[in-house]
Each structure stands twice: as structure tokens, then as C-alpha cells.
Amino acid sequence: MNLDPGILARTQFAFTVTFHIIFPTMSIGLAGFLAIVEGLWLKTKDEIYLQVYRFWLNIFAMGFGIGVVTGIVLSFEFGLGFARFAQFAGPAIGPLIAYEVLTAFFLEAGFLGIMLFGMHRVGKNLHFISTCMVALGTLISASWILSANSWMQTPDGVQMKDGKLVVINWWHVIHNPSWLYRLPHMIAAAYLTASFLVAGIGAYYLLRRRHTSFARRSVLLGTTMTSILIVGQVFIGDVLYGVMLKHQPSKMEAAEGFWEKQSSSPAPYYWLIVPDQKEQRNRFALGTPYLGSIWLAHSIHGRVEGLKNTPRELQPRMAMVFYGFRVMYCIAIVMFGVACAGLWLRWKRRLFTTPWFLRVLVLMTPSGIFATLGGWYLAETGRQPWVIFGMLRTVDAVSPVPAKTLLSTLIAFVCLYTLFMTAFLIFIGRIIKRGPQEIGTQVETFSSLKHAFRLGVLDKKTLESTGGAR
């Protein structure tokens, strides 16, 4: 078998980064959610908020842990698989990531310990500050990493001197043309992800008639946040679409599934296509007539530009880009529908008692994660064949590491990450099955809120104390 190191290095990076981004997406969203909930608890002294906080802190801690260790891998992987990219772009990208570590990772790590284990040691207010610091850390981290990635999409502020990349303006590197559009898009995606997680789990309990007060509060918090966020997200997404169309026309051409320089008029909006990159045509396409013209050209008979506008050797693979976009877009449409239905039911005071809606919420639990992944596939595969758009091609960036070595480490990553995911899902399943701890009983037993504030470790001790008889 003839293996290509370039393809393997890309597959390995794609796999590890795909796996990784799931967890920061959840952590960014959940950290913000936890900060809000703890704030509400401190303000209202309503113990259900504390119950919600404790329940999600468990899941947050596990997801954060996996995010940290899979993230460390990435900070080495630029060099492991893409040494020439590292050497070329290090002067521009390296400092951005160094700033991420300096301003975000240490902040998260420093306060995470207090957030998870420090309630008894620092008291409520300082603990709340720690939660906020962790949430802030996740946001700062996202800012830098989005800046670095946006620089690869829309590089700015640099010059070539003797074949070397030299930064001439740092502000332009950080504040590159797509950064401030892509950053809020990602942050809103993370918060949406968390909101659907929270609402979904709450709905699950409501359907089972378990932990009703906890479940109602979760559904209420979750649906409120989704309703606000989805409107903003659709708007940001639309603006970002225009920005990318201007800077990376090839990506958006591929994302809409048209080949000809000018599509037919009126243009359909494609939902399913089977593109043939070699023949530069679609073997099969299914779409809604007129919708393409209306959505993309904003007129009944408008035409849409296709991928043939980009020279063949500079085209991305249409299938990946198109389906990345469609996954994100379709989920966003459903999210919008769910948010509208939620508002309507709330107005009718049937939010907690409409089984079909609750079932939809349960189904939508992981939707944010899939939408985020789709969006990243659009962004990253749509940038190809460039690794730094217009500056360095991916094939020229690969490390001098033999294919067999890359293949064996890829298999190792797949095996290990599968184990992580399986364990994560099993533990989440157990946490959900066990349910939140009933606050009332806790307070009675310990007669102090401080003691009510306990984490996963508690279960071990309750188990020990009950299992002591065994």
C-alpha cells in the first residue's frame, strides 16, 4: 500500500483537533453557564441554583480535563506533523499561542483547582470569583486561538523578507480581517452548545418525572439562553458569510455546491449533492427551486457563483466544505425553530408540560457540538489547498516524518481517544442516571450550606459510609 505522509499528517491533525474542539466548546459554554448560575445562587439564595451548579460542575470538570490533555497534544502537533508550517509561520502564530498560554491557560488552571475543590477553603464569594476567572480564561483562550486561526484564513500584518516571514504590524496580525467576526460566532456557538445540553438534560428528567424542580429550572435556563443566543448567532453567521465571501470566495463557492461560473437563473438552494471534483460537476443534486437566488443573491432570479471561478489547483474539495456547511446550517434552522416553539409555549405556560417539545429538547442535547464541528469543517476544509490562505500550501508544510510512523501514531491516537470518549459518555450517563443531589436532605444532614457544596468525591464517601456495613 502506498501511503502519503501529507494525507496522514492531515488526517492525524484533523482527528485530534476534531476530538479536541468538542470539549472546549462545552467548557467555554458551561463555564459561562456555571458563573451565571453561581451568581444567581449568591443573589437569590435559591438552593436549586446550587443544585444545578453542582450537577454541571461534575460534567464540566470531566470535559475540561479531556480538553486540557487533548489541547496539549495540539501545541506540539504543529511541529510534529507540520514542521515547515511551524518554521514558516512560527513568528506570527507562535506569539499568539504563547499569549493564549500566558493569559488564559494559567488563569484557568490556577482557579480551576479552587473552583473544584476549594469551596471549604475560600468561602462563597471568593469561590464565585474563581468560577468567573475560569470562565474568563476560557473566553480569553478562545480569543487568541481564533485570532491565530483567523490569521491563517485571512493573513495580515506580515511581509516576506528573504523567504522568511516577518511581522511588521502586530495589531494587524491579531486583529486580522476575519477575527472579530469569527470570535463571537464561536463563543455564541459554545454558549448555544451548553444551553442545549442543559435544556436537554432538564427535559429528560421532566419526561421521566424525576427531580422536577431541578429539571424545570434547567429547562427554563436552557431555553432562555438558546432563544437569545440563536438570534444573535444567525445574525453573526450572516455577516461572517459576507466577510468570507469577500476574502475567501473559493470557500463559499464550494459551500453552496455550484460548479459553473454563473449558476442557472433562478438558482436552487442545494440540500444534497454528489460532487465530482474531476469532472467539475455534480453527479446528483437536490435542492429547493428559487431559494438559492433568494437567500444568496437576494433576488428572485439572481445567479450564484460556482467553484469554476477558482483555478482548479486552488479549489478546495467541494464535498467536505458543502456538507460541513449544511450540517451547521440545518442544525441552526432547527435550533431557531426550537427557540421559537419554546417562546410560544412559555407564553402559553406549557413549557414544562408539552411532551413533544421536551422530546425534541432531549434529541437536541448534543446539537450544538455537531453544528460547531460542521462549522469548523467548513472553515478548515474550505481553506484548502492552503494552510495559510494565499501564502503556504498544506502539501508544502508537512514534516519529514515517514508515513508508517504517522500511521502508527494515528492509530494510537484513535484508540486512546476512543477510550476517552467511551469513558466520558459512560460517566456522563452515570451522572445523569444518578441525578442531581437533593439539596434539602444535604442541608438537614450537615446543617450548613458549605457542606451542601460537594462534588463527585462526595459520592465516593457516601458510598463508603453506606458500604461500610458490607
Binding site: G79, R430, R454
Partner: protein, 330 residues
């Protein structure tokens, strides 16, 4: 202004902190293998859970500053050290998730503990092998790695790996004496007195061998014999002192002594490697990125690192004193 020198100091600073801090929690991980009672293992784990994440961040810090300030060396070293780095990352990953996973299930905790201990040991071993591979020399062609990915695997680098593993375990044992309650005292003492002779033997053999493996190291000895001699003397003194750690009344001094021992070793290595960034092949000035990139990183580092050290210290301070017998929630 000599910015590459400052950037190199920053890398060195981050790496030193990493070795000292993650060194002890990797060491505690390895020692978990030798403790039969689960309650005691819980106690050992509790001593490191609140702060391990911050410790490991220094490794990422060192890596990204290398990436930002010395992209040439980052692009040579990582392909050259591809296999040990990937194995180290996988091992660090496994042990990292164990912190969370082991609290989730009571009945399987014993297995997770073995996974955690083996992961810690492999990570430590790989870090030592990476060091060994750098000392024995890396094949550089132009600005790229020119050798084979298996070049790193030699008896010499394995010996370096075991040496580092021992050093981390000594740090871990010192930490357990410092943070653990009385139930860990005899365990820690036994660990230290067993490990010190092994460490001295390994370190001595590795040092002598390195003179044969890498002629450049002989040259450094000729040039900086006073420096290196002093550092070796400091290490030997601390080894001797640690052998009698049982007599120490303070629970902190054995840990401090272990820190000094390892720090002296790290400084010694830096004396040997300086002024190169790819040992004996590429000087740090030849691998540096443009000065604006360096300055940007350095300004940020000078402004932020004091704050980072401040709240990292605060995090340790919050969890000061002995680790509670019943965990942090009691």
C-alpha cells in the same frame, strides 16, 4: 538588544518550573504503583489534584515560546523526537483524564490507579529519553531534521530516561512527606532511601557515558569545569542529605532538598546545552524568529508572568498545609 537570549531564558525558566512542579506530581503518580492500600492512594492523589493542571501548563508554555521565538528549532526538534514526544503526550493524556475518571467509579478505582501510575512513569521516561536523544545529537540537514525517527532509541537515551524517572520519583516522595499526613511518612522515607542509590548509579553512568557519546560535552567540561563541578557537588550533597532524611524533623526540608537536587541537574544541563537551542547543532541566534516577534512575546511574558506566579502561588496557598485525610471536601 540580544532578544534571542532573553527568549531562551524564558524557555529555560518555563522548562525548569515544569520539571520541578510536574516532576513531583508525575513522581507521585509513579509511586502509586507501590502503595497497596486504596485509602492511602486516595490520599496521595488528593495531594496533587488541585494543582496538577497548572504544573503541566508550564510544559505548554515552554513549547509555545520555543515555537514563537525559535521556530527553526521547534521545526527540527519535534520531527526528530516525534515518537518519544507522541508517546509522552499520550501518556500525559491518559494520566490527566484519570484524575477525573477515578473519582467517578469506586469499584474500578484500582485499575484506573494502575493506568495513572503507568502513564506517569511512561511520561517521565519519555521526557528523559527526549533529553538523552538531544544530548547524543540530532541529525540536522539545512534547517530540517535529516535523520530517522528511530534515531532517538539508544541504550544511552534509555538510561537518561530511567535517570529522569528516578529524579521525579524522588521529588514525588519528598512531596508526599511534605503534604501527606503521618500515614505516608514511612512510605516516603522508604521511597527516598531506595531511590537515591539507584539515582546516583544511573546519573553517574549516564554522565560518564555522555562523555563518550557526545564529544561536545567533553569540551563543555573543559570550558566550564568549575560551574559543572559545583553543580555536581550540590547534587551529591543533597543526595547524601536525603539518605538521612528520616532524621529531619521538618516535613518540608526533604522536599526542598529534592527540589534543589533536581534544579541543580537542570541548570547543569542548560550549561551544557547553551548557547545552542538544538544541542550542539544550531545556536539559538540562528534559530530565532524576527526581533519584533521576540519582543512581542517578551513584553507579554514580563507583564503577565508575575501575575501568573502570583495567582499560581495563591492556588497553592489555598491548599496549604497537610492534605486532609478525607480529601478536600471534608
Amino acid at each position: 538588544m540580544n532578544t534571542p537570549l532573553f527568549s531562551a531564558s524564558l524557555v529555560a525558566f518555563a522548562l525548569t518550573l515544569y520539571v520541578l512542579l510536574d516532576g513531583f506530581d508525575l513522581g507521585v503518580g509513579c509511586l502509586l504503583l507501590f502503595e497497596r492500600h486504596e485509602r492511602v492512594r486516595d490520599h496521595m492523589m488528593d495531594s496533587i489534584t488541585p494543582t496538577w493542571d497548572g504544573n503541566e501548563t508550564w510544559l505548554v508554555m515552554a513549547a509555545v515560546v520555543l515555537f514563537a521565538a525559535f521556530p527553526i528549532s521547534y521545526g527540527v526538534l519535534l520531527p526528530a523526537l516525534y515518537l518519544p514526544v507522541v508517546v509522552m503526550l499520550l501518556a500525559l493524556g491518559v494520566r490527566g483524564v484519570c484524575f477525573e475518571f477515578r473519582t467517578q467509579i469506586q469499584d474500578l478505582r484500582g485499575y484506573w490507579d494502575i493506568v495513572f501510575a503507568v502513564g506517569s512513569a511512561i511520561a517521565a521516561l519519555m521526557q528523559g529519553m527526549i533529553l538523552g536523544a538531544m544530548l547524543q545529537g540530532i541529525d540536522v540537514k539545512g534547517n530540517a531534521f535529516g535523520g530517522r525517527v528511530t534515531d532517538f532509541a539508544t541504550p544511552y537515551s534509555f538510561l537518561c530516561g530511567v535517570t529522569v524517572l528516578c529524579a521525579y520519583a524522588i521529588l514525588g516522595a519528598g512531596w508526599l512527606r511534605y503534604k501527606g499526613t503521618a500515614i505516608l511518612h514511612s512510605f516516603s522515607l522508604r521511597a527516598i532511601t531506595t531511590l537515591i542509590p539507584i539515582f546516583v548509579l544511573m546519573f553517574g553512568t549516564a554522565s560518564v557515558l555522555s562523555l563518550r557519546v557526545q564529544p561536545a560535552i567533553v569540551a563543555v567540561w573543559h570550558q566550564d569545569s568549575l560551574w559543572l563541578g559545583t553543580l555536581v557537588a550540590i547534587m551529591l550533597f543533597n543526595c547524601l542529605w536525603l539518605l538521612s532524611a528520616g532524621r529531619s524533623r521538618s516535613d518540608f526540608y526533604p522536599f526542598l532538598s529534592a527540589l534543589v537536587l533536581v534544579a541543580a541537574g537542570v541548570v547543569g544541563l542548560m550549561v551544557i546545552i547553551f548557547p545552542n537551542i538544538v544541542p550542539f547543532r544550531i545556536a539559538l541566534w540562528d534559530a530565532a524568529s524576527s526581533s519584533l516577534s521576540q519582543i512581542f512575546v517578551l513584553v507579554g511574558a514580563c507583564a503577565v508572568i508575575p501575575v501568573v506566579l502570583g495567582y499560581s502561588f495563591f492556588a497553592y496557598w489555598v491548599f496549604r498545609g497537610k492534605t486532609p485525610r478525607e480529601g478536600w471536601d471534608a
